[in-house]
Symmetry: C2
Subunit: 558 residues, 2 copies
């Protein structure tokens, strides 16, 4: 049998009109704003705080991932199919994919195999324009900053050397990382260093996903911290009267998007902030929308649980008052082999020894989830080269820890392949064992918050603050930002800040090099390594192998 690509599976599927999906959620045709026949925006008036409290939020996270990722999105979608199959009303709530990587190596991000959200081409390309709106709002602020430097009549006395706000573009374009702008004489701006990040790295994206409502969005946009005047006074976006115009650009983007899974179940897809320098999960509004409309909401957060789940729980849930009823920890045998010492060319060969050695990684993530007083379920995302004995080993070891581990075959089989997982999740939810408590209080001192995450979640023995980070700490205090959430920026490849320490490293030191501020998002961002904010294209970009025929049918998109 020919192995079908993701786009072939998606295109072969009989897609339902989005009105039918809305009906499943109890929304009438008039209640949605259609974008073609298969996409719609949902009005914020559908959010219902009472229902949010009573329905069940499930977070899908993962062990420390290999570069290919362990399939959180695929498991999230598959689990949603499974939950619906066994009689629950479940909606998957996901991040929107970034356009840039579609033309690079990574490809799109709409699930895979028989666990996808559709129409996958649209979701991966432009979608309903939210990323574009974020990009424009970000770059309008940039234009206003440089216009202020240029104009003599309304100068804020802003020191161009202190400007922290960068432009963004949703493109993998390394040449824009470091640029000099404003060249060409007095009519063409003030020369200064600048750079473009990719759009998901924009603080506007983080803000959109942290906002509770439109009023909160506007307020947060005004709170964006830009830099300092020559006499060291902080300048914010509100000083440029930028927040209303930026909010106008985000008028439609604030509303979550409704699409569907391959099996015709509802999928809400909204927002896509980076998982390193930002929170890496869909918008608070989308999660609340899901919980207002269905009994189960399955959602995910980027990278491993040390980053994704930690931020999801401490930042998003604490800010929005959400309480997950269970956490699904995705593990792959392949990644466990890696954590057990397998080299890249050994990843796909069964080895009980490597898996035994690598189990410690999963074990630490299980322990971490329990620190939030939430019960985990382990989903073993199945690959064709997994051996029976490796799988059985994981299941038994988890059982010893009181955790149910289940093989998830959503990629190969869709909802049929995730019924066991769905049942395990329902069992945890109905056991009422979870009662979420955050790891730290936002009001505790910044250093204490950082140390708590590093020591309790990562397992670090010592947290070092570089000289720059110490200066940054003082600045944060001076600016009155000490009660912000902590948004750690660390490699996803290890619990530590050294990507080569696999498994469960111990007795290590993490070093906070510097600390950034996202004042609109209300984050303090400790930087524990160099963070990529603008990817590049590979030697042979994926774009070269894409085609579109004269009827608009696309191939080569993954």
């Amino acid at each position: 049998m020919k192995h079908l690509t993701d786009i072939e599976i998606a295109q072969q599927n009989k897609i339902k009109h989005i009105k039918e999906i809305a009906t499943k959620l109890g929304i009438e045709e008039d209640g949605i704003e259609m974008f073609g026949k298969y996409k719609a925006k949902l009005p914020l008036s559908l959010i219902d705080e009472e229902k949010i409290k009573n329905n069940n939020l499930i977070l899908v996270t993962a062990i420390t991932p290999t570069p290919a990722g362990e399939g959180k999105t695929t498991v999230s979608i598959g689990l949603t199919e499974g939950l619906n199959k066994i009689g629950n009303q479940a909606t998957v709530v996901l991040r929107e994919p970034s356009l840039g990587p579609v033309f690079g190596i990574k490809g799109g991000a709409a699930g895979g195999g028989y666990s996808q959200v559709i129409p996958m081409e649209d979701i991966n390309l432009h979608f309903t324009g939210d990323f574009n709106a974020v990009e424009k709002a970000n770059n309008l602020l940039s234009a206003l900053i440089d216009n202020n430097l240029q104009s003599s009549c309304c100068k804020l006395n802003l020191d161009p050397r202190t400007i922290l706000w960068k432009r963004v573009m949703d493109m993998n374009d390394r040449s824009l990382r470091n640029i000099v702008i404003g060249l060409g004489g007095t009519a063409n701006g003030v020369p200064r260093e600048d750079g473009f990040d990719i759009t998901p790295a924009s603080e506007v994206m983080a803000i959109l996903c942290m906002a509770n409502d439109f009023e909160d969005l506007k307020k947060r946009l005004g709170d964006i911290f830009i830099g300092f005047t020559y006499d060291k006074q902080p300048i914010f976006a509100r000083d440029l009267k930028a927040e209303n115009a930026m909010a106008i650009l985000l008028k439609h983007a604030i509303r979550p998007n409704l699409v569907q899974t391959l099996e015709g179940n509802p999928a809400i897809i909204h927002g896509g902030p980076f998982a390193n320098i930002a929170q890496g999960t869909n918008s608070i509004i989308a999660t609340k929308m899901g919980l207002s409309l269905s009994n189960y909401v399955i959602t995910e957060a980027g990278f491993g649980a040390d980053l994704g789940a930690e931020k999801f729980l401490n930042i998003k849930c604490q800010s929005a008052g959400l309480s997950p009823k269970a956490v699904v920890l995705v593990a792959t045998i392949r990644a466990l082999r890696h954590h057990g010492g397998a080299k890249k060319d050994q990843y796909n060969t069964p080895s009980l020894d490597f898996v035994k050695q690598g189990f410690c990684n999963l074990e630490k993530h299980i322990e971490n989830i329990r620190k939030f007083n939430i019960e985990p379920v382990v989903a073993i995302n199945a690959f064709s080269n997994d051996s029976y004995e490796e799988i059985e080993f994981i299941i038994e070891k988890c059982e010893e820890l009181g955790v149910q581990a289940v093989v998830s075959e959503g990629w190969a089989k869709g909802g049929k392949g995730t019924i066991k997982l769905a049942k395990a999740v329902v069992k945890v939810v109905e056991s009422n064992k979870s009662s979420f408590k955050p790891l730290y209080d936002w009001n505790s001192p910044v250093k204490e918050k950082i140390e708590k995450i590093a020591k309790e979640i990562y397992g670090a023995a010592i947290v070092d603050f570089d000289k720059k980070a110490k200066l940054n700490l003082k600045r944060i205090e001076r600016l009155g930002f000490s009660d912000f959430a902590i948004c750690m920026a660390k490699t996803q490849k290890s619990f530590s800040d050294n990507e080569f320490l696999v498994g469960r490293p111990e007795n290590f030191t993490v070093t906070v090099r510097e600390i950034e501020i996202a004042a609109g998002a209300k984050f303090i961002i400790p930087i524990l390594g160099s963070m990529m904010r603008m990817p590049g294209l590979p030697g042979t970009p994926a774009s070269e192998n894409m085609t579109i025929d004269n009827n608009g049918v696309i191939s080569g998109l993954s």
Copy 2:
């Protein structure tokens, strides 16, 4: 009575569901792709070449404009209301506004007063994402170019100093006009000079609007000329295998957008190329769509008739096989005063003398339209300070030339104010006097084509070619592009290339400084002055006075 702003008029209007507008055009609900309740995309399958031949295309153009513009869009929309009012089935087909200027001085571009297309906020902001798609396609090509310079494995031997392709952003942002990219060491690209133009200046926009269908679009994208190798060989977008990925990004953007006028008549709005370095009119596909669906199509082209109408007729109509049945020449008393010698502070004061002196400008435009064997109608776009004797003078003088001049009050009264104009247009159409013939054949020599436009349309005595332009001419010949259309880039403020020569200048020389190539659009662009491709923001940007309330109601957008 309080004078209402454009946005207040638009918001007070009872807007119809877009399904109703589609019904007026004989399209069933299933035949459109809705973008919310008030916008839709139309499938290309609705284009019908037989109907295009039989229905009536009316071009709205203008005399040489003052900086505020003479109201072509407003007259086009008003005329459409009027034509429908007197029992015709008419659709207005317009360009999409650019987002950047909305936050600058200019504001939006969706008509004005009681002649607007709605929802005006959406049309002015993001709309259905077409500009964004053009921007992304343009910038993907840029990223591929720089990625090729970076990567050692697939080098095209492209000489970075020869790269003509620039990045674009739909923002008024002067600081991006001249930049240096690729700084920061070997991992971050190859340093070179670059710059951003505003999105309407992208050749991708020109191509989208020249394309006959999807196949043609793809072909043209591949034909984009990028620069030269170190051994002087031309490099095209197809050499980077870029055209399919670019076309994928334009999959939705190629379809025209349906909205409505204030009086609920159909408006098709699609594409928005610059009027100086590009053709300055909506897409061929949109014009054909309009003609496939209604008896009258009213459309416009940017700047005065020397630029807009000339390009519309020689480039667009010749390429697409379209034959306008009438041309509406918009004049304002204000602009005629200007051409008669009034200073800026005299523009709004009645003066028969100035109007008499300035009439020569209108007269030359009338003569020019007749060179294409098309009958003009003059629309005097009414302003409150027009005097009766000024108006009567114009009407009589036009009558002497055998042209009907009619006062158009669409801004103040909507369709009620344009019934006379509508009747005059119908009379010209039914007289069957127009039988379009282009001014030049694309196959004639480049120099001859340029001279023909400059002498016959502008009234120049001599056409000078600077040294650079002469070298460019040789390059064009060597590359085999001599049979392209001529897309003149000249100031819109004068028939000549000197913006201070108002009225009807004579015995002047125009100087072709250099000649650019848009190989995908199939244009040769003689540059007759410095062309602004990236506007800046004013000292107090419009953004500062915009607000949006918590229900999403916008004010301060004009």
